[in-house]
Amino acid sequence: MSTSYTITLDINRYDPDTKLSWVQTYRVEASAILRFVDVLRKINDEQDPTLAWSSSCEHAQCGSCGVIVNGKPLLACELLVKDAVGQFKTHTFKLKPLTIAPVLRDLVVDLEKAYDRVHKVRPWLIKPASPHPDGDEYRISPKTLETYSEATRCINCFCCATACISTHHHFLGPNASMANMVRLMDPREMARKERMDILYREDGVYRCHTAKACSFVCPKDIDVSHFLALGKEGRF
C-alpha cells in the first residue's frame, strides 16, 4: 500500500435553505495518490454526506471542479494529496468556492452564470471565410495554427478569472477574452471589426493589468496572459 497522510480540511459551507455560512473542519486519512475529488468523496462516504462539491470528468478536461485551496484556484481532480502536501508545505488545507459566480451550496458555484461572459464574446465563427475552391476544408498551415492552438485548449474552468486581480464585475475575464483572441487569430474569421469591438469594449482586454495571475494558475498550463498581451498590442 502507498503512503498515506492525515490531512485537515477547513471547508467553507453554505446552506441555501437557511442562508447560513460557516467553516467546517474534517480530518481525513488519505492515501498519497488520492485526488482532492477522491478526498471530498471520502468525506461524503465516511463522515458527511451533505457536503456538496462538483465535478464531472475528473481528469482535467471539463473544468467543473474548480475550487480555491489555500488561496490558489485549481481543479480538485488534478491535485493529488502528496502533491498538495509538497506544494503547500502543510497538512492543513482551506477550501473555498470559486469567487466568480454565486454559491449554490458549499463548494458548488453556479458556473452556468459565469458562462454568460464566454457567450458575450460569441465563440463561433461570426463570418466564415469563403470555402476552398476545391469544395473541402479551408487550408491552414501548421505554423499558423500553432500561434493560437494553445488558447483553444481552454476548458473554461474559471480558475484564471478567480485569480485575476481585475474585478470580474468590470472585466469579461481572461478566459472569455482569450476565446475572442482565438477567433481574431483564426484565419477563417472574416468579422474583424466585430471581433475588435469585443476586444476593446468597456469590459474588454484593457481591463487586464498584466499581473499574469491567469497564466500562473491555469490548470492546463496555458499562457493566458500572452494571448491577452497580443490583444493589447493588436498583434493578431
Binding site: 441555501p16 492515501s31 464531472s56 452556468e112 498551415s141 501548421p142 473554461n156 474569421e189
Partner: protein, 599 residues
Amino acid sequence: MGAALTVDSTLRCDVLIIGAGGAGLRATAQIAERRPGTRIMALTKVFSPQKSHTTTAQGGMAAVDPKDPMDRPIFHTFDTWKGSDCSADQNVIKKVCDIGWEEVVWLERHGMHFSRTEEGRIAKRPFGGHMLDFGERMAFRACYEADRTGKGIMDTVWAESLKYGVDFIGQCVATELLFRDGQCTGAIIFRYPEGKFLAILAKATIIATGGNTRMYLVSSNCRGNTGDGLVLALQAGLPVMDLEAVQFHPTGMVGPGILASEALRGEGAILRNKDEEPFMERYAPTAKDLAPRDLISRAIIQEIREGRGLFHEDHNAHHVWLDLRHLPTEVHEKKIQEVCSFFKRFVGVDPEKDLCPVAPTAHYQMGGIPTNEFGEVQSDSQGIVPGLFACGEVAAASLHGLNRLGTNSLLELITMGRVTGERVVEYLKDATDPEEPPGSRPIVFDQFSTYLNAQGKEQYAQVRDSLRNLMMQKVGIFRTEKSLVEAIEALAELRERATHIPLGTTSLSANQDLWQIWELNNLITVSMVIAQGALARKESRGAHFREDYPERSDAFNYHTVVYMPQFNEVTFGKRPIDMSIFEARGEHYELFDYIEREY
C-alpha cells in the same frame, strides 16, 4: 420533511433536446440551420454543454477523404462491419461511412481546429481496425485535433447552437417522458439548484444523454454517465437493445481508469507485458497493437491471468505496460500533449522516459435505445414512436453492433446527429403544439418520496461500491452463466438496499445526496438489463464474451431487444441484423456475409 412535490411550471418549445453533448447539439445545429426560428430547448446535466462527456474524447473521428488516393468508403464500411463481429446494421454503416467526410468539412467550416498537414489540410492518423483493401494494411483515416478531438467537436457544436439562440437549461435531468395517445409530447425535468420540477412540452423530443458505464469499478466515463436516457425509455415501456455489449477500452490509466487514447498506439505506442514482450503480436499478427478494442482488452486480461501482468501497489490493481518512450519528442509535445500530461499528473510517470501502467477500463455502451436509420425511436420491430428521436451513444441504430471501432463514435455523434436533426425538420412540418400533459402524477414523485423518506441503515457509498465491484467482477470482460445468474440475484438485492438509504438532508435545493441516489437507481436498472442480455446471449461476439460459449454462433445473428417496464420484469425480443449490402449482391458483397474475424 421537505415540501410536497409539485410541477412548478410548464414551458413550451418546438424541439426538446435531452442531453446537450456532441450528438444532441449537432442535431440542434442542423434543425436551427435548416429551419430558422425553431424554438429549441436543450437540457444538460452539467453547468454548460461545453462540459459534456464528448469533450473528453481524444483520438479522432474516422472519415474517408474523397481525395485520398488509397482509401475508399467501402473499406471503412467493411472495417466497421467486421469490427462489429457481424452484428451492426449495414444500412446504417453505409449511410454513416458515406457522409462522414461531409461532416468533417462541416465541422471545419464551422470553426473546429483540426490538426493540419504541411499542406494545410486536415491531418489523419491510423486507428484500431481501420484498414485499406479489406483488412490488408493500416489506413490513415482518423481526422483529429491533437488528442482533444472531442473537445474540438463539442466546442464547435456548442458555439453553433449558441449562435442560433438555443435555450440551454443547465444542471437538470429529464426524469420521465410525457405521452399523449402514444405520441411523445416532451418531458418532466428536475433542476438541481432550486430543486424544482418543470414540465416541458415539445412537438419533438430527442434523447441524446450519452453513455452509462459508471456502474463499473474502473470506468473512463464522467461522473454523470449513469444511464438516465435508457431509463427514460425503459420506464415508458419502450425497448432497449444490445446493452450486453459494453466496450472496455484496453488502455485506461491504472487506478481510476482515465482514458489513454488509442491515438497513442496510432502514433506507434506498444503494449508490453512484465517481460516487456510486445504481446499483441501473438494475438493479432497483422493488426498487432491496432487490433479492435475487444480483442486487445481480452488479450491484456489473458496476460494478467497467465502471470505476465504487473501489480500496482498504490492502486491495488493489475496492469500491463504501454510503451511510448520511442516516440519523437515532437509527438509527445504536440500530438498527444493532453494524455502525456494526464500520465504525469495522475500516475506520476513521464511517458517520454517511463513505461506507463494501463489496464482495461469500461468505456462505451454499444447498444442503446433502438432507432431506425433516421434516428426515430422504435416501439417494437414494426413501429416507431411519433415525436420521439434518439441519437449518439444512448441510441443504437446500430452502427456498432456488439463492438465499436475507435473513432467511429465521434463519427456517429456527428453524422447521426445531423440525420436525426434532418428528420425532425421533416417531422415538424405537420406537427402541432401538444395539448397540456395528462394530469396523472409523475412517476418521479413516487421515486423521490421513497428516497426522501427512506429509513434504514444502508449507506449510499456501500451500495454504490457493491454495484461497481459486482459489475466489474461478474458482468465485465469475461462472463459465464454462473457469474451472470449471481449478478442478477445480487442486483435485485442492491435495488432493495437502495431504498433504505436515509438522506443527509431532505432539502430539494442542490441536494447532492438525493441526486446521486436517483442516479444510483438508474445504474442498477441499466446493470440489470446488461446482465439479463448477457445471460440470454449464449455465444461470444464482439465485446460480449462468454467463457462457457467462447465462439460466435449463427443462432444469435440478431440484436437483443429488452423491455423492462418494472424492475427485473424482463421481456425479450429480437431485431434482425440489416444485411442490405450483402443482399444487394453488388461488388464485394461476399465480404458482407457473416465472415470470419481475424486481425
